[in-house]
Symmetry: C2
Subunit: 363 residues, 2 copies
């Protein structure tokens, strides 16, 4: 079965939520957090044994491709698919599907994110195997994460009926996708126990997702068809360059998943998944010292300091904290961020302020 | 009267309470705080009109002399008196008195600190004039600061009877000097309204203070006599170098003031005096913005931030704060300090930790 199974890593994002460590020219997937491997490298590492490097595709943008290739040289250069510019996850998935369909019409693809944490790798690989088996039955499969708290930071998936159980893993139909909820709605979904977090990871046959594009996003489907025909020919760059700018930006969730039939979800409990969507989220994935602190540098003098994150990147500076609680301190060469943990989501406001004032060198 | 009046600035200290801005090789009096002039330069500036530069003496150590002379080149080089090593304020005062007595036996000297803030300069100069007039009557005069809050950071002076009033300024006898009190004792002294803070500034005739040394610190007096004889002769350095190391370290408060007769205090209210003894104290002397913040650098992005001090020195870095309250952030080239305002006094604990662990480059 696995001979036609491919991983597609979406690595073109430039998220600002881990600013100032993540930057325009060093996006989140390229940064290291408590490891000597970047999030992108760790993403590739956890595929070992399930996908050989030649069956891993990476969709990214030209500005990032060189660094990503340098970080994981095992993946063949022709497996890096470059978007001329970001056009949302629908076009990312579509491009990978079109290229894969040309190379292997029987392909099953797993759409994966490049910048998330997953702790339980054996379970992760089992989920992908089970999902591929379900996808072979013409289902669009998504991985759901059993909520551990009523988060308002994630989209949710409401389960329908149980379809089958494979190797102990339950497979459900999907009743509905839901956008990031209010706190009250999140509380209710958590209590109802019939919702999972939308992990943004999907598994399907390439032929099935292309059929969905034809049906639900016919304009994009037409562009993808032309790009597919030109791919791996001398006209590739010219055709992509001509068509891409006119693609309307859209997410795969809104464009396809929320409206497709035959959607299944595999609820995963204990996967240890985390999208590392804010500085505060690091407290869920990195080891804490006895005072609840995370210290990601050597040169600290810590006095009366609790529940705080201290990260110094490339500055070789001594960081001294005294009487500090619930703080995030990110010390980089040209920017220092001091942020209350519970205000981690407001990092984007700081980034916005810099954009508005034209201080682009700090973005 | 003022022809024999001299200022003696004690500028040899190396305080650690404003670490990491103040450092072993850049002591507190040399740093700039919200001004393009250092505390030492501001100390000299406020003497203008009362003392010509040739009547200002500076007692310091060799390591600091070059920088101090560079900062205030108007003061003649022979007015910089160098201690071979720190031996407490008693020997500092004694050295200046011995040298002055040789140069001008009629001298009245005002002992001043190099690293304090004083807001009301006309009143400060008036106090010195009145104090000199009192000193001419063979009194040892000290400037007391009317307490604005029950501080435990200062020593106190208990007033006795009123002796006279000169130009509207009351002159009191001194009943007792007291060391830094407990919180309860400070509350009581504040309520009793008969105590002033000990500012560490003294005014007396050189002949009177030398007589007190003879009486109360005869060993030091003997050394000072020999140094006085050798001063401004070819033997100066040899004599100072031979005698200084065996001087027992002592403060002028304990060595003389607490035991002397004929001590007067001039209580000063509204002088705007502050010893800048901690980062927190800057909130009393520097202008605050509408959120109670002090921002001593240009490149800030401040979101939901109150009552905090942000100081960036020589790093040219952007400092972003989000959801921050009551914090002190001191951003220097090789050290970052993040400290709760109310824990400002614990900066010395961080310094102590660095000493213990041999990280002397950060001191």
């Amino acid at each position: 079965m696995n001979n036609n199974f491919y991983a597609v890593i979406m690595a073109g994002g430039g998220g600002t939520r881990l600013w100032p460590l993540s930057r325009v020219n060093r996006p989140k997937q390229m940064i290291r957090l408590g490891s000597d491997r970047s999030l992108y490298q760790i993403t590739c590492d956890r595929l070992a044994g399930l996908f050989t490097p030649d069956r891993i595709l990476v969709v990214t943008v030209a500005e990032q491709a060189v660094e990503l290739q340098k970080q994981v040289p095992e993946i063949p250069v022709e497996n890096y698919l470059l978007e001329p510019m970001p056009r949302g996850t629908a076009s990312v998935v579509g491009l990978a599907a079109a290229v894969l369909h040309k190379r292997d019409p029987q392909a099953v693809m797993a759409v994966l994110t490049a910048d998330h944490f997953i702790e339980n790798i054996p379970y992760f690989q089992k989920l992908l195997r089970v999902a591929a088996e379900v996808a072979r039955k013409n289902m669009l499969v998504t991985l759901g994460i059993t909520p551990t708290h009523p988060s308002t930071a994630y989209g949710y998936i409401q389960r329908g009926v149980i379809l089958e159980t494979i190797d102990g893993q339950a497979v459900y139909s999907v009743r509905r996708f839901k956008e990031k909820p209010t706190a009250a709605a999140a509380q209710k979904m958590m209590a109802d126990e019939d919702h999972d977090w939308n992990s943004g990871m999907f598994i399907w046959q390439v032929s099935d997702i292309l059929a969905e594009f034809d049906h639900l996003m016919p304009e994009l489907a037409q562009s993808l068809r032309e790009i597919g025909l030109a791919w791996d020919t001398p006209e590739q760059n010219q055709v992509v360059g001509a068509l891409w700018p006119s693609i309307k930006p859209q997410t795969i969730d809104y464009g396809i998943m929320e409206r497709a039939q035959r959607v299944a979800v595999l609820p995963a409990a204990g996967l240890g998944w985390n999208d590392v969507g804010s500085w505060d989220s690091l407290f869920e994935v990195l080891p804490l010292d006895s005072s609840g602190n995370i210290q990601l540098n050597d040169l600290n003098v810590i006095i009366d300091t609790q529940n705080s994150l201290i990260l110094s990147d490339g500055t070789n500076r001594l960081v001294a904290t005294i009487g500090v609680d619930d703080l995030v301190i990110i010390d980089t060469k040209d920017v220092l961020l001091v942020c209350r943990r519970s205000d981690s989501q407001k990092v984007k406001d700081a980034v916005q302020r810099l954009k508005e004032t034209g201080q682009t060198r700090y973005l």
